[in-house]
């Protein structure tokens, strides 16, 4: 990104000053000069377009891991006021609705797992359905799926996939309100019929990781983390149902924008007023897809426990937290000194509630909400903790990943899947994948430096680092 037009606000935040006669809300880009310079100019263009949407509250923002997306930039955060003509945007949520990370902490240390790591990776690979076209073991009828879409992870637990304790550590306790399965097309439900309990492909993964560094002892204690401990992270979303909801409503919202005379700077920002019939239908379908994703990750957590138990019978895996990073949620935030209900779009951004937030389980009230920044398969991931509202001015949002530094085709020119997997093995990281090409596209070098992203996230006041997790085995789609 060319920083010439930007003005540095603080050490880790930048803005684009308004030009004469320009009508839009302010924009704020979080990150270091170095991180911003690696971003495509499209990131600035896209977030500036978001700032022109009706009903925007406060500032349109990008997180330190931002990159060029569709409609909104990935890493984009924007809140809208329904009472002021605010909009809902399918591109502001993403096609993989409620894509997120379930993190499980174990009672195992690296020393105990290392001799069994090959077997564990193989067993996870066999147990977790992954890859394009791969189906799960569950086959749900449309009426059964409607129950899933209403009840989310609670449905999965009721079916025996996990425990009630898991639900305490999932956003909204595993089930968002406002789901309307009637707003989800029959086609979307058909696509999900065989996809419950599947990982997917691309950047989705299941990773066995070790806690290599602790930054915040007190928060780590609250999260049940210690050095050398094995944890598992599962990154996936709402699968075919979410993808179909996204595509179904993209054109619907694009036409609604025209019909309702909404001035949007680019067609890719297809949106409708929150209070319009199209907006309400999308919200009902999106919430259904969020519940689908929460149920999906609950099933995968259960399958993970199953795979562990065959190799390490004494293994216990507890949910540390489950947080989504492609959503729009109705939340209360301080706006101009008063609390206001707003619709917060987080497209590739993680919710990061601070200490004492009423939605948090009692165990995390002191530390704040766990925030998970998933890195590449060769570098590592971070667990952070949400900051108080006085420090986080981004509608309680933070980064979600390392963010791509180069396109998939550039990565394919630079790396070969087999060589990459062999090199990672030499570094002590086992990769199990159905696709060597997919592995090359996801090469660690194709991503930004996750250490820089996590550091910038902390120094910008968005969330504070608690622990660094080093990958030991990665199951990819």
């Amino acid at each position: 990104m060319d920083l010439g037009a930007l003005k540095q606000v603080e050490e880790f935040s930048w803005t684009l000053p308004l030009t004469a006669g320009e009508e839009r809300a302010p924009v704020l880009l979080y990150g270091t000069r170095e991180l911003l310079e690696t971003m495509d100019n499209k990131v600035l263009e896209q977030i500036t377009n978001v700032a022109r949407l009706p009903g925007l509250v406060g500032t349109a923002m990008t997180m330190p891991d931002a990159h060029w997306g569709y409609g909104f930039p990935i890493g984009g955060v924007a809140a809208f006021d329904a009472e002021a003509g605010g909009i809902i945007s399918a591109g502001g949520v993403g096609f993989d609705i409620s894509c997120g990370i379930r993190c499980l902490r174990t009672n195992l240390d690296l020393d105990a797992v290392t001799p069994k790591l090959e077997r564990l990776a193989d067993n996870l690979y066999r147990t977790i359905p992954a890859g394009v076209g791969e189906e799960g073991h569950l086959k749900l009828s449309p009426s059964e799926l409607d129950v899933v879409l209403k009840n989310g992870a609670r449905w999965a637990v009721k079916q025996g996939f996990g425990t009630n304790e898991d639900l305490e550590y999932v956003e909204e306790h595993g089930c968002v309100p406002g789901s309307d399965p009637a707003c989800v097309s029959d086609l979307a439900k058909k696509r999900q019929r065989g996809e419950m309990g599947t990982l997917g492909s691309g950047n989705h993964y299941l990773e066995v990781q070790v806690v290599e560094r602790i930054f915040d002892e007190a928060a780590a204690r609250d999260y049940g983390l210690r050095l050398g401990q094995i944890v598992v992270s599962i990154h996936c979303g709402s699968r075919g149902l979410g993808h179909q909801v996204g595509t179904d409503y993209l054109v619907t919202l694009a036409k609604a924008a025209i019909r309702l005379g909404i001035r949007i700077p680019d067609r890719e920002l297809a949106c409708a007023p929150i209070k319009s019939s199209e907006g309400q239908q999308y919200i009902g379908a999106m919430n259904a897809a969020i519940n689908c994703a929460l149920a999906n990750r609950q099933i995968l957590a259960h399958l993970t426990r199953d795979a562990f138990s065959w190799v390490i019978p004494e293994a216990q895996l507890e949910t540390l937290f489950d947080v989504s990073h492609n959503t729009c949620k109705v939340e209360e935030h301080p706006v101009n000194g008063r609390r206001k209900t707003v619709y917060v779009h987080r497209k590739g951004a993680t919710r990061a509630f601070g200490p004492n937030h009423p939605s948090l389980p009692p165990r995390y009230r002191d530390a704040g909400q766990p925030v998970i920044i998933g890195g590449s398969m060769g570098t590592g991931s971070y667990i952070l903790a949400g900051n108080p509202e006085s420090e986080n001015h981004a509608f309680a949002s933070a980064s979600h990943g390392a963010g791509r530094a180069m396109s998939r085709s550039q990565a394919l020119k630079k790396w070969r899947g087999r060589e990459l997997i062999d090199e990672l093995k030499r570094q002590g990281i086992l990769i199990r994948t159905r696709s060597l090409r997919g592995a090359a596209e996801e090469a660690p070098g194709a991503y930004k430096d996750v250490d820089r992203v996590a550091e910038a996230t902390e120094k910008a006041g968005l969330a504070r680092r608690v622990a660094f997790l080093r990958p030991k085995a990665c199951i990819k789609g």
Partner: protein, 139 residues
């Protein structure tokens, strides 16, 4: 004759841009579909014995491209197929397409799943040499 390859790609940070070119609008849309499904599986490995059909009403050419591509994705997933051959006709706002594929088999995929065609970098243009259709697909 078209000098450029009918189905091609352009770079995007996280996702992938697809291009379809043809002497007619329909050929350009068919080539765009080949480009999109080529992300997921090698078209040369798909025998294409099983058909699926996609039909829709759309006056706007750009939205028609997105609707065509997303309709194919949904039909392919519903039928459990990797698609490799495409045919499209249109009269005014009425579009009728057919595509042929083979069942997904382990190892066929290229490790990337297209979630949907987006409105980003979306364009359908006629040039001296024919038509070009392009957009970014979410992977």
């Amino acid at each position: 004759m078209l000098a450029a390859r009918p189905d091609a790609y352009f770079d995007h940070d996280a996702d992938i841009g697809i291009i379809g070119r043809g002497e007619t609008l329909e050929q350009a849309f068919e080539a765009a579909a080949r480009a999109m499904f080529g992300i997921m599986a090698d078209p040369a490995e798909i025998r294409g014995e099983t058909p699926v059909r996609v039909s829709f009403e759309e006056q706007d050419l750009e939205l028609a491209l997105v609707t065509w591509l997303n309709g194919l994705l949904a039909a392919a997933r519903e039928a459990g197929l990797a698609l490799g051959r495409f045919s499209l006709r249109h009269e005014g706002a009425s579009w009728t397409g057919e595509a042929w594929g083979s069942p997904w088999v382990p190892g066929r995929d290229r490790g990337t799943e297209v979630k949907g065609a987006t409105l980003t970098m979306l364009s359908v243009k006629q040039s001296g040499q024919g038509w070009e259709a392009r957009c970014v697909v979410d992977v």
